[in-house]
């Protein structure tokens, strides 16, 4: 029986997420034994034509050309899985969504007229149907192995959607917000990183995007009791997952308050 065909595509992104596929060490051979890596330019020049059974998409849509290309990829793909904060939320480059891209282009380039760019950076799901989203900036490489395994075995991936706090407590790390007064996005952020930052006495930066039922208002109120300003809250919510809806709404809300209160 022919192995299912795997393709990997890149849009606006840093490559970090798709490289985690090459970074899985011993598991790479296992992956190659259960799927045919048919189209993965980072790994091989050999490109086998579609359609593909499983397509991993990294990166966000930032150009008119990419907005077209993703539709062709969708047509060629049975299962389309987006990987990383860029593909699932628009990435750090979605900060442009609050700014004037023409101004950036004219500041940076001698001939901005050669550029053909959109004014926004948007997640793949805003353009085509997505079958599964794997969050993180970057994704966790073992979570990627899990997603591939689940696909091959025809089951749902074991990827939690609850808060970072669950992982943090399983790990036995005392809450940095409670014991040190360190602002932490953990309670509104999806697990997946293994609660890395709190175990080094840092607050969570929200790399895995909003958890399943984020209460950003109350977390923000708790941050304010720790002395955090509206302006700083805007910066906190506008990170790698700035354009994920709950974080976007929260940052807009605090921006309006910062302006209203003359911060």
């Amino acid at each position: 029986m022919a192995l299912p065909k795997l393709a990997v595509y890149k849009f606006a992104s840093c490559d970090g997420c798709q490289l985690s596929l090459l970074d899985v060490e011993d598991h790479l051979l296992d992956i190659a034994s259960v799927v045919h890596i048919a189209n993965f330019p980072e790994a091989s020049r050999e490109v086998v034509e579609g359609p593909y059974d499983l397509t991993l998409v990294e990166g966000s849509i930032t150009t008119p050309h990419d907005a077209e290309r993703i539709h062709e990829i969708r047509r060629q793909s049975k299962y389309l899985v987006t990987i990383g904060a860029c593909a699932t939320a628009g990435g750090i480059q979605a900060l442009r969504n609050w700014k004037d891209t023409d101004l950036f282009a004219s500041t940076v380039y001698a001939h901005p007229e050669y550029l053909d760019t959109l004014h926004t950076s948007t997640p793949i799901k805003n353009h085509v149907e997505v079958n599964f989203e794997l969050r993180g900036c970057p994704i966790d490489k073992m979570a990627l192995v899990e997603v591939v395994a689940a696909f091959v075995q025809g089951r749902r991936p074991n990827i939690p959607e609850y808060s970072v706090c669950v992982e943090c407590k399983r790990k036995g790390t005392p809450c940095v917000m409670v014991s040190q007064g360190t602002p932490c996005l953990g309670p509104v952020t999806q697990a997946g990183c293994g609660a890395l930052c709190p175990s080094y006495n840092r607050g969570c930066y929200g790399c895995f995007g909003p958890m399943e039922s984020p209460n950003t208002d109350m977390l923000a109120a708790a941050w304010q009791r720790l002395g955090v300003s509206h302006r700083e809250l805007v910066d906190a919510f506008r990170g790698f997952n700035a354009y994920a809806e709950p974080f976007r709404i929260a940052s807009d809300h605090h921006e309006a308050l910062a302006v209203a209160q003359g911060e």
């Binding site: 091959v152 609850y162 005392p174 109350m218 708790a222």
Partner: protein, 383 residues
């Protein structure tokens, strides 16, 4: 059964040593990440001497006391359940090969001595013994039972309750009520640190008999112990009125207070993770890519996650108010129906470690103040 002994701090060191020498992994309170956690200790020098913990709703700070107390704080940030039912436990794993399916050998249960267990925490272990020992327990809790059976418990009575403690309301402290091998009370007598030590089991008595240089306490020392404990009982940080509480909670399923909690609660699950009696688990099945190695892992779960009540295509408790209601009603009401006691021992962890300071005693009191049982809205029971 308890003969009372007394010693200075050196006796505590010798006790830790005796437990280690009899083959125990000794676990006790240590300072890590600016909080107290339970971890392996080698001797008395690892204990948080001179530290105390200030606990308020949503706030915890370690501070220097300016004295030599070894036990001048209350409960650690995480509970002992992390050792008896670890956050992640491989229930079984196995491999398929041409010779068939082989399961891997199960590990041996570790032999622990828990050093410095507070009375509410000893009570919490008893609460979980009932849970896992009843028909509601699953056979796969066997590892927990085996570990628990050979765990040696050195309890430390509380002479200075914390800001969020309410063991008196739950009748679990401040003096340990049973279920320990050795109990210690730390007092300051005539300017000296003194440790009153008593056995609570045959194993405990045997360890104490084997220890040299333990003295007999004076009348004055015994009195100082009793008066310290009486004073502690009178100085609880919080109280919980348990009168009629199960019926109160069960009859207020539609109280608007749940909506107020829904606004404030983050559904982060910290409360359930740190609680010494919360026992909900989930089970993950994992199969290696090539399909030859299977692992079934039990992990701590929480009634605050959506996945927890996910059935037939949707979560049964979508709203956060419903999740909090489920939690507190189980702790303080339906637990009694299941196990003949409450599922809360009054340790205060859920109050301290809630990032937004939601307080179980405060919420129960609010429901009591706005009891809707005699109004039409209250009818309909458990919605």
């Amino acid at each position: 059964m308890s003969e009372m002994y007394v010693s200075g701090q050196s006796g505590i060191g010798r006790l830790i040593q005796a437990l280690a020498e009899s083959g125990h992994r000794v676990i006790g309170p240590v300072v890590r990440n600016e909080a107290l956690v339970y971890d392996e200790i080698d001797g008395v020098e690892d204990l948080p001497k001179g530290w105390t913990d200030l606990q308020e709703p949503g706030r915890y700070r370690l501070e220097q006391r300016g004295d030599e107390k070894l036990f001048g704080y209350v409960v650690g940030s995480a509970s002992w359940k992390q050792f008896l039912n670890p956050p992640e436990t491989v229930l079984w794993s196995g491999t398929v090969s041409p010779d068939g399916f082989m399961t891997d050998p199960a590990p041996e249960p570790p032999k622990y001595a828990f050093f410095g267990v507070r009375p509410c925490e000893v009570a919490a272990m008893g609460v979980l013994d009932t849970v896992y020992g009843s028909d509601n327990g699953t056979p796969s809790m066997g590892m927990r039972t085996a570990t628990r059976e050979q765990t040696f418990i050195v309890a430390v009575n509380c002479v200075e309750p914390g800001g969020n403690c309410f063991c008196v309301s739950m009748d679990t402290g401040p003096a340990v009520k049973g279920g320990y091998d050795i109990a210690i009370t730390e007092i300051v007598h005539n300017g000296n640190m003194r440790y009153l030590i008593e056995g609570g089991s045959k194993a405990g008595a045997k360890v104490l008999e084997g220890m040299v240089n333990l003295e007999e306490p004076t009348e004055a020392e015994l009195e100082a112990r009793d008066s310290s404990l009486a004073e502690a009982a009178a100085n609880m940080g919080r109280t919980l009125d348990i009168e009629d509480l199960p019926e109160l909670l069960k009859g207020n399923a539609r109280n608007p207070r749940w909506d107020s909690i829904a606004e404030r609660c983050l559904a982060c699950a910290n409360c359930t993770m740190v609680c010494p009696t919360c026992f909900c688990n989930t089970v993950d099945d994992n199969l290696s890519l090539d399909g030859t190695q299977a692992t079934r892992t039990r992990k701590w779960d929480s009634c605050f996650t959506l996945g927890f009540s996910y059935m037939h295509g949707r979560p049964m408790r979508e709203g956060v108010g419903a999740r909090y209601r489920q939690w507190i009603t189980h702790k303080l009401a339906t637990w009694v129906d299941q196990f003949d006691e409450m599922g809360c021992v009054g340790c205060g962890r859920c109050i301290t470690w809630c990032p937004v300071g939601i307080d179980i005693t405060h919420e129960a009191a609010a429901i009591r103040r706005a009891d809707l049982r005699d109004t039409p809205i209250g009818i309909g029971g458990f919605a």
